[in-house]
Symmetry: D2
Subunit: 355 residues, 4 copies
């Protein structure tokens, strides 16, 4: 008995101590940490106020030269994620300032990006040889592995929201980075806004351009002029979703699916006075307020927001939107929904309202 | 020996004579007829001139009442197809006149239809409870098994091109017909032009409407205002296809594919002075001239066409388009392409120009 | 008034008489014929008894030389289809005899074929350079546009069921025929039964062979040894479908879908004493009895069948299967299901039993 | 000048110091860390020798009771990943011992798992009410969110390789865990090995079981008896891939795709004397040696392996396989390939051999 216990106790300690040299570890001591009870995110709900953000960006414009900064972006760092470059667990977001005359030199990377223009007209992004001129409300794609550079030839500062799949792509080690050694700005290989002219204005697909795959969307710029018209025409048709009001997904013209394999983009309008039902789902979202004011209640926390603010709803967080005002409120959002679904992990449930 | 030969000759005749009662027939006597050397269509190239067609339609308007006619349609009967209701082997086409105040009562059928409006503004089609108001150039879908009725509440006659998959669907015995016994015109279940307001103006898909399948396209009316804008914006971008110029397919927003499982619709612009390369493919097409004049050379036959004419290119017929004029020419077309491809029978080859 | 009436009556006759020269016809006089009330097939239920068929085939073997016959096949001609080469509206079927030492020279065509071996072991089919040796119960594919030749190097006659999509492919004018001018039998480009060795024995797909598309199935021969084992193992698992008993579809390993884009193949086992429920669907089927006896009641007609008989169930015909015997009955079938579904025309409904 | 510099330097420091309270951070100071030059994995090549592993497992069997251990698994901890529960960056692997009479109680989780049986016959896994009896070489799936329990009713210890998508699913916070509070072992809802009997023996899919989605594979156990037969039949057909020899993917019968949305499984045979070409790709793999001996050279490191050893090749690592022996060597592997592809991050390149 004693011997056995001794052997047992001593044996176990020695056993555990010896496992490391064999590059193994006992699952039974780690099981609980590896298998959480719920898909609860470490990320927390948060709002970044544009008033503050704009001030910080403009100050960065004074303090940091474009050459120094290369990318003058303030990353939105979720308070729950220990300083990681992530607004939600899976979505990186940042606010970028490009001053008149500045450029961001041509590069590409494994991570895919979307940009939503907040203020300033006339800056451009060039994607794989196609330049697009950007205006507020435009959604601009720089897909995974596409060469891209930015510039601002207007007289005013331009600010946009960057959203990338960086946390996911870095977690699975799928990222890489290349700078174009030969040119700061890409030579234009196509007419300016070629894809917008071919794809943006309706539901017709050019036949002579055969897609080589399902991704990425061939449309680089989903212009606000179209988005705004869709919202304007849609609001009389239907009340939309009980959770989101009149809500549209920006679609890949060739498939009807999400704009990137990793990120989905949405725009929604909450009518004046609307209070949505509450639900939760395993995908997370970064919201950019296009116009109007309101609040979103997330796991009991109320996020007050107004035009140009940015806020986040973590995965599996219960949320509902409220527009107490007299005007409709319009929200753009970018989510990890395509990945969560592709991996078979999407779950959604209706929940009682929190108030 | 003799007996054997005798038996052989007599035997064969008796043998052949006796097969019928067993409901069998010798393949070896039928092989050549069943297996043609080439996918050569019995259909022939042909133009129906709108000037003539319009006169015949208007005369029908005088001679035949709407009640008598129910569908006052002149079917375009391909001269090569022995009077079959078919403009090409697989595509039915007809020109329909609806006079002010007339209606075509609600019905549905297994065959799917598209309509391209030629003249007259303000007539309507109602599809499964959604009414759309039609203008020249609009493409209107009444998919397979959808309830639909038409009416003309304007002051002018309305004429459109009907195209259906009728020859194919009847050949495989997939058709059926139902009249709505309860109502001549459907009650409206949605706002007028609901789907156009949700889907037509850009590349955004309503999220709260989950499609139940891949077909049909949820967009009932692809309005000319959008189509015209796409063409206008596209012509500076690229020369398009060597065979068709700047050519677009009307797409199902949910899939990027054809508008119906059985019919694909296209619009193309031939620049002033353009002569395309020649090719042939196993799909056939009915063309409706939207504007401009030109000619299409089909298997050596020159089809001259001008605004509002209708012409056909049979399957596997060599064809090239010529626009000798000073203005661009715009062609709408409807084809059996989706079926030919779904059955694995699509083939295409470049051919030397015929002139 | 009188003038008007006169004009009307005379006018209409003259009008109708004059339409032909313009290659148009009045839809309103043809509407009923073009739009049948129901998807009722002209084809009728029918059984071809193998005892009779075998005799006729063997007699053909004496009377008609292989060179004369080229394809010594008795086509099963549905009594309802006016002598068309069609067992159901959309599926051609025939019974083919190849005598020892005979070959059928290499050729290809737009129509796709499947063969189900009824008797005789050791004949071969070569498909695009791959030879397969055939045994009773094997399902052998010669897909659309594949080169194929047959030969019988055994000592016994070989008889199989041919099924083709010929009626559909001819109706849409997608067919063509080529004889290999250079060789009667193809040179073998791969080991004998290469695809069977790679694909038939489980659920593993060779990685180094990248499919170029979804069709056709890369497996040329679905051997009976596998089919028989699946049936044997499955019967204890579950009663299967109420309409068909334990029923399996032969699947394309690369997609899980039908073996050809135009034809689906199935095998089913009806347990001793089973009487299925009745239903009808818009697809039609040719059945080959593999073993056992029973009857199928089709639109009120009872088809009695036994081993090796062939029978047909037309589209939209109500049918139920009965196995009154003490042994299970096994049926192979080939249907137009993939086409009916691809065109959006599949409908099915449960019906009261007919007896 | 001085003022400016001072302001600049002091200003910048103060600026940086103040950013944290606003939950933002300067991208321009983090850019290099976020965007690595290459998709270089932190994971390193490594072999775990079965001789050692088996000893450690058996010792754990003595020291730790089943109740204490719950899951008596030694996790394979990649030396490059700082103790994370990960064999490669994206794939968790562990070796599990179940002693005679032991069970692992019913539970489920968001992560999906596959198991490859190394030794011991007669243990079972029950997945969503279906029990399968396992033998060496069997691949057993417990997909994402499926209830599963294990037990060993045989007289011998059973050891298998567990592989899970845990690192990915945890990184994107898609995981959760539930224990079945009502039962330790699930009641059986289907016959034992029902799915193996329906799906494993060929290419036939049961028609009466309609899949509700693309995933997971309905086949719970891909038995070694089938796998072994495929390998045996295939080796004479073709040399297979230049990088992997004769290599097969375990396929989802309903789609032809990977067995889980997150993990792909493969089996390959390296002929005696084979040295493969070298390549690298962005997916990573855990290999389990089924039989034979050889070595794999990974980024210049030679991994020697023999029967039952486990080794890993990180993503983007150059690798080639060598079988110097007289017998073929057979490797099972599990990879993150489906995720890498779904996210558009798959890249592959041929590389010069490393020796």
């Amino acid at each position: 008995m004693t011997a056995h216990t001794e052997t047992g106790a001593q044996g176990i300690d020695a056993y555990y101590a010896g496992l490391g040299e064999h590059e193994v570890a006992p699952l039974w001591k780690a099981l609980r940490g590896l298998l959480p009870k719920e898909p609860k995110s470490r990320a927390v709900p948060h709002v970044w106020r544009y008033e503050t953000m704009r001030g910080l960006l403009m100050r960065a414009g004074e303090l940091v030269s474009a050459e120094e900064a290369e990318r003058r972006v303030l990353m939105l760092v979720n308070p729950g994620l220990d300083g990681a470059a992530a607004a939600t667990t899976n979505v990186y977001a940042g606010l970028q300032l490009v001053l008149p005359g500045e450029i961001a030199p041509a590069h590409r990377h494994g991570a895919g990006a979307v940009r939503f223009i907040i203020e300033g007209e006339g800056a451009h992004t060039t994607v794989d040889g196609e330049r697009t001129i950007m205006a507020p409300g435009d959604l601009v794609l720089t897909p995974n592995s596409s060469w891209h550079d930015h510039g601002n030839q207007s007289d005013s500062p331009v600010i946009w929201l960057d959203a990338l799949d960086l946390p996911m792509v870095n977690a699975i080690e799928g990222n890489y980075f290349e700078l174009d050694e030969e040119q700061q700005e890409q030579e234009l290989a196509k007419p300016v806004d070629a894809s917008r002219r071919l794809y943006a204005h309706g539901r017709l697909n050019p036949v002579w351009q055969q897609p080589t795959g399902q991704f990425p969307s061939p449309l680089i710029n989903y212009p606000w002029s179209r988005t705004e018209q869709v919202l304007r025409e849609a609001v009389d048709v239907d009340a939309g979703s009980p959770y989101d009001g009149v809500v549209f997904e920006y679609a890949n013209p060739l498939t009807g699916g999400s704009v990137l394999p990793t990120l989905g983009c949405f725009v929604q309008q909450l009518a004046a006075g609307l209070r949505t039902d509450a639900h939760r789902h395993t995908s997370s979202a970064v919201y950019q307020v296009v116009s109007g004011s309101g609040r979103t209640i997330v796991d009991g926390t109320t996020l007050e927001w107004t035009t140009n603010d940015t806020f986040v709803v973590p995965g599996w967080a219960v949320h509902e939107h409220v527009n107490d005002g007299d005007e409709p409120a319009t929200l753009f959002s970018v989510t990890d929904d395509p990945v969560i679904r592709a991996l078979g992990l999407y779950r959604e449930e209706a929940v009682e309202r929190q108030s």
